[in-house]
């Protein structure tokens, strides 16, 4: 590999890695919030059923 290739590989790893991690983080937050919202509505339904 040429020197330019090593530079491109290093910058590529860092920036692609950062993008993947940041997107993954946001997706995990989104998934957790969505699941929490679903559970909240389940709980509200349980409350109504128990009354």
């Amino acid at each position: 590999m040429s020197r330019e290739g090593f530079v491109a590989a290093a910058y590529g790893v860092v920036f692609i890695g950062l993008i993947v991690y940041a997107l993954g983080l946001r997706l995990r937050v989104f998934a957790a919030r969505r699941q929490a919202a679903r559970l909240e509505s389940d709980l509200a339904e349980l409350e109504r059923a128990s009354k």
């Binding site: 590999m1 020197r3 330019e4 090593f6 530079v7 590989a9 290093a10 910058y11 790893v13 860092v14 890695g17 950062l18 991690y21 940041a22 983080l25 946001r26 995990r28 937050v29 957790a32 919030r33 699941q35 929490a36 559970l39 909240e40 389940d42 709980l43 349980l46 409350e47 059923a49 128990s50």
Partner: protein
């Protein structure tokens, strides 16, 4: 920053900081590739320094913060410190991974080899990465919350002890890593490097450090969302038992 409302309140600030980071990154790359000269012997390969060194700095900074939060957690038993330490370790491990990948990619054109097991700095950095990978595995597998927090705080404190060893390794042992370039006592701090190169390096250090705070904010937001989810799951389990 430890409940949903606080995360929402802080969001505009961190959105703004993300914009600042992206602008800094764009200008930093422009500076590195168009304004900063190539090093005499390594040529363009030396440009790897501008992502390798800031990644290393961020990893050490993250583990230092995790160390401080872990000490605070053990002293106060406050779960907020544990949550922050966990966020810092995850972000720090990401940057340590970058260090371990970009280092060999710089090493091959500069030294003719990707890795040398006799190099103290390489091996101690790998040990650091393994310690904090262990920390993350411990958190993922441990069931009891109190035990998990206590054990992981101890791992973070012990793991951080490797950071000063990494820093001093080039002075204590023979290694293929160069002696400190920026913090060189003999030549004077910052005098052993071209001023444009130093400017670009410091600029990227600042940009990466800003990124650390942004990522930790999002990691804390994730932990808060998960805490809420866990609380709701246990409430639902109790309700289902009551209903029969």
């Amino acid at each position: 920053m430890f409940d949903e409302n606080a995360v929402r309140r802080w969001r505009p600030l961190f959105l703004g900081l993300t914009g600042v980071f992206l602008a800094m990154l764009a200008f930093g790359l422009y500076r590195i590739f168009l304004l900063t000269p190539n090093e005499r012997t390594m040529g363009i390969a030396q440009k790897i320094m501008y992502v390798h060194v800031p990644s290393a700095w961020n990893a050490f900074f993250s583990f230092g913060a995790a160390f401080a939060f872990s000490v605070a957690h053990l002293a106060t038993k406050n779960i907020k410190w544990d949550l922050l330490a966990h966020a810092c370790v995850e972000v720090g491990t990401l940057f340590a991974t970058f260090v371990l990948i970009t280092g060999p990619l710089w090493g091959k054109p500069a030294w003719g080899t990707y890795w040398d097991w006799h190099d103290a700095r390489l091996v101690t950095t790998l040990i650091l990465w393994l310690i904090f990978l262990g920390y993350l595995m411990l958190r993922a597998t441990s069931e009891s919350r109190g035990r998990r927090s206590k054990l992981s705080a101890i791992v973070a404190i012990v793991g951080f002890c490797d950071v000063p060893i990494i820093h001093m390794s080039v002075l204590w042992w023979r290694t293929i890593h160069p002696m400190p370039v920026v913090m060189n006592r003999e030549a004077g701090v910052g005098r052993n490097i071209d001023s444009t190169m130093l400017g670009s390096l410091l600029f990227m250090l600042a940009a990466f450090n800003l990124l650390f705070f942004i990522l930790v904010y999002h990691r804390v937001a994730l932990e808060i969302a998960r805490e809420k989810l866990d609380a709701l799951k246990s409430v639902r389990a109790r309700r289902l038992e009551e209903v029969g």
